[in-house]
């Protein structure tokens, strides 16, 4: 099962490597990991997307909790939540493809943020599945470069991760 885990941790040097080290040392898999400071500069918020059986996920959460720098954890997958990821795609866009690319970007509610005679750079936000769908939808040979941030997530409604 895919799980998306959010955690708040001390914004200390080395905190990120403790988390990354834990995953590699115990053989847990990481699909994506994002981290940035929060409005409280002493705290960072991390979102980890991982996969594993219920037992493995339980261990992951417990082991993360044991890290001294980790302040609070929430397995977002335990309840309703929203997930977003940002992708930048540079595509070939000339001749008849140029119009087609523009149309695809519109359909996926992407924005063209950089334009040259031969290329577009498209910005796309959404759940990971939507970004996958976009990649599927366009001609693979047209893709020059992609970069994705990995998922960030937040609970719906009253579900709040805060100290």
């Amino acid at each position: 099962m895919r799980h998306i885990i959010s955690l708040l941790m001390e914004n200390e040097a080395g905190a990120l490597s403790r988390v990354a080290g834990l995953f590699s040392a115990r053989g847990y898999n990481i699909e994506s990991l994002t981290v940035a400071p929060t409005e409280d500069i002493t705290l960072s918020r991390m979102t980890i997307v991982t996969r594993g059986s219920e037992e493995v996920i339980e261990q992951i959460v417990k082991q993360l909790n044991k890290l001294i720098d980790v302040v609070k954890i929430l397995d977002l997958s335990d309840g309703s939540h929203i997930e977003r990821e940002l992708m930048l795609v540079k595509v070939r866009a000339f001749g008849k493809d140029r119009e087609e690319m523009k149309r695809m970007a519109d359909i996926f509610r992407g924005r063209i943020i950089d334009v040259t005679e031969k290329t577009y750079t498209i910005e796309l936000t959404g759940p990971g599945t939507k970004l996958d769908a976009f990649i599927e939808a366009i001609d693979p040979v047209a893709i020059l470069e992609t970069v994705r941030t990995g998922a960030s997530g937040i609970g719906r409604g009253e579900r709040i991760l805060k100290i």
Binding site: S17, G21, E58, Q59, Q63, N65, I68, D69
Partner: protein, 587 residues
């Protein structure tokens, strides 16, 4: 200058003045004093010279100069295991730290509270591949409970306080504090915090009352109960409660290798150690019980083998541990209780006493009958008429000669298992062994730490001729500080445990397990200024032990020439089913 009992020169003229700005080095030393540290095991070097200069000027604690940093950490570890206090080691940057890593990992695997202070190159040089620079925080990260790099002298005192707090609370463990050399020179006002509060670390956990009620109920419903306790009971100082509960219930009790001494081994309710080299009765009872109470233990691979096989027999499990990640890690548990083992056991005892329900006496009698049948196999029997010294015999005699009252450290191998099987520990903290990491070289330095913590105590280091050579240099430290440890070297000329596996599983191909060119241990001991003895006949074992232990103020190195072909039984081969246990008589 005056000199103390150990002949260490002390400068009496040094005094602290309150409110004064102190250097990082002064602060480090002052923190240790204010923390109540009695002994620091260490080795100097460039990055810690400022700290050493302050050590020279103080008399709040004693510094023990080891001969190798690995030994500094093992000695601090032995001190910690035998006292329950935090052990402290001090090493320099680079090679000092890398030498210490084996010691740190050893303590980590067995959850031993240590604070290790390491020097680091100056902050400005970090990352420049400076002389004796290593990424100490990076290297130790996977084998410490936590670590710190102190970049600002103003954070030094709080960091050291945090280190002691983290090391000693919750599930204990080693904490490293890495201090760059310039930080030891910078100055700031000194205040040692009384306590620290960390929003991200809250170690105090009280067991869930509802769960404890369920556990009491389940225990009283049992028809074939078993109580299995581990190192957590020793670390949590809960041996008294465990003993009380076991006696109250009248149930059988087994200890893991790490848990020996938590329940008195000479008590009839004790069925011996369990696991790979555990007794037949302990392992059989563990697998055939219907209700299992696990306290401060972790169902590790050397104890239950493969989880899938263990789970084939159905039993209900109650698991008490301070570390939530230990619960449900390897086996499914019916009643998990996260909390301090002592407090949980107290509550459990109260509930069992108050309960109107009583255990099923006829079922229990039947269960004991079964256990006693298993016991009758006498799985620890060995050839007592042997003409060659049997290692088991040495341990039995050691137990007799020391009235079962010694502090015993070991190295790793067959001798370690025989020590666990044949020295009957009746008290916690007397048995000091590297269980999790299995570190050869641990025994002698650990014994030094134990002896320094308990100067009047009888301390024996049970070792093998291979293991002892991994930290033999500490014989020199033992002379300097007059630690009269008795080294019991079970000399079988082989890395016995390796040889045993090669005999069983590799068709007697003894690849590189023969210890050739051994030193003459008697002369070696003498060269280090100690007493050496060589014992070659069974009849000489007891008199020699009596003679050695009568030499109260001398280290005696006893080289017992033992049977080369002896194996440790019973043995459950790695990954095998409990039913595949090999007993001595079957060979």
């Amino acid at each position: 200058m005056t000199s103390d009992a150990l002949g260490i020169m002390i400068n009496d003229s040094f005094e602290w003045v309150a409110g004064m700005e102190l250097t990082g080095a002064e602060i480090t030393v002052r923190c240790l004093v204010d923390e109540g540290v009695e002994l620091v095991f260490g080795y100097p070097g460039g990055a810690v010279l400022n700290i050493y200069d302050e050590i020279f000027k103080q008399k709040g604690f004693k510094h023990i100069l080891v001969r190798h940093e690995q030994a500094a950490v093992h000695a601090a570890d032995g001190y910690a295991r035998s006292t329950g206090k935090v052990g402290v080691a001090l090493v320099t940057s680079g090679p000092g730290l890398t030498n210490a890593v084996t010691g740190i990992a050893t303590a980590y695997m067995d959850s031993i509270p240590l604070v290790v202070i390491s020097g680091q190159v100056p902050t400005g040089a970090i990352g420049m591949d400076a002389f004796q620079e290593v990424d100490s925080v990076g290297i130790t990260r996977p084998c410490v409970k936590h670590n710190f790099l102190v970049k600002d002298v103003r954070e030094l005192a709080t960091t050291i306080k945090k280190a002691f707090h983290i090391a000693s609370t919750g599930r204990p463990g080693p904490v490293l504090v890495d201090i760059p050399k310039d930080v030891t020179a910078h100055k700031t006002a000194y205040v040692y915090p009384e306590s620290v509060v960390m929003r991200s670390y809250n170690a105090v956990v009280k067991g869930h009352s509802g769960q404890i009620k369920k556990a009491a109920q389940m225990l009283l419903e049992a028809r074939r109960p078993m109580i299995y306790s581990g190192g957590g009971v020793v670390l949590g100082n809960a041996a008294k409660q465990l003993t009380e509960l076991v006696r109250l219930l009248g149930y059988p009790c087994t200890n893991t290798l790490m848990g020996l001494g938590a329940y008195p081994a000479t008590d009839p309710q004790f069925v011996g150690m369990l696991g790979m080299h555990g007794t037949y009765e302990a392992n059989m009872a563990m697998h055939n019980c219907d209700v299992l109470l696990a306290v401060g233990a972790r169902f590790d691979d050397r104890v239950i083998g493969m989880p899938a096989q263990f789970a084939r027999d159905s039993r209900r499990i109650i698991h008490i541990d301070i570390d939530p990640s230990t619960i449900a890690k390897r086996v499914k548990v019916d009643v998990p209780i996260v909390g301090d083992v002592g407090a949980v056991l107290d509550e459990l005892i109260k509930l069992v006493r108050a309960s109107r329900e009583r255990m099923d006496e006829p079922a229990l009698a039947e269960w004991w009958k079964q256990i006693n049948e298993w016991r009758a196999r006498d799985c620890l029997n060995y050839d007592r008429a042997s003409e060659i010294i049997k290692p088991q015999y040495v341990i039995e005699k050691l137990w007799e000669v020391t009235n079962g009252d010694a502090w015993v450290t070991t190295d790793v191998g067959q001798h370690q298992m025989w020590a666990a099987q044949f020295y009957k520990f009746d008290q916690p903290r007397r048995w000091i062994t590297s269980g999790g990491l299995g570190t050869m070289g641990f025994g002698l330095p650990a014994a030094m730490g134990v002896q320094l913590a308990h100067p009047e105590a009888t301390v024996a280091c049970i070792t093998g001729e291979s293991s002892i050579q991994m930290c033999i240099q500490e014989l020199s430290t033992c002379l300097q500080y007059r630690t009269p440890v008795k080294v019991i070297n079970l000399n079988n000329r082989y890395m016995g445990m390796v040889r045993q596996w090669q005999e069983f599983f590799y068709g007697n191909r003894y690849a590189e397990s023969y210890m050739d060119s051994l030193p003459d241990f008697v002369r070696l001991a003498e060269a280090y200024g100690h007493v050496g003895m060589r014992i070659e006949k069974p009849a000489d074992v007891e008199p020699a032990l009596r003679e050695a232990f009568a030499l109260k103020d001398r280290l005696v190195f006893m080289d017992f020439i033992t049977d080369q072909s002896e194996n440790v039984f019973p043995m459950v081969p790695n990954g095998a089913d409990i039913s595949e246990m090999i007993l001595a008589e079957e060979l």
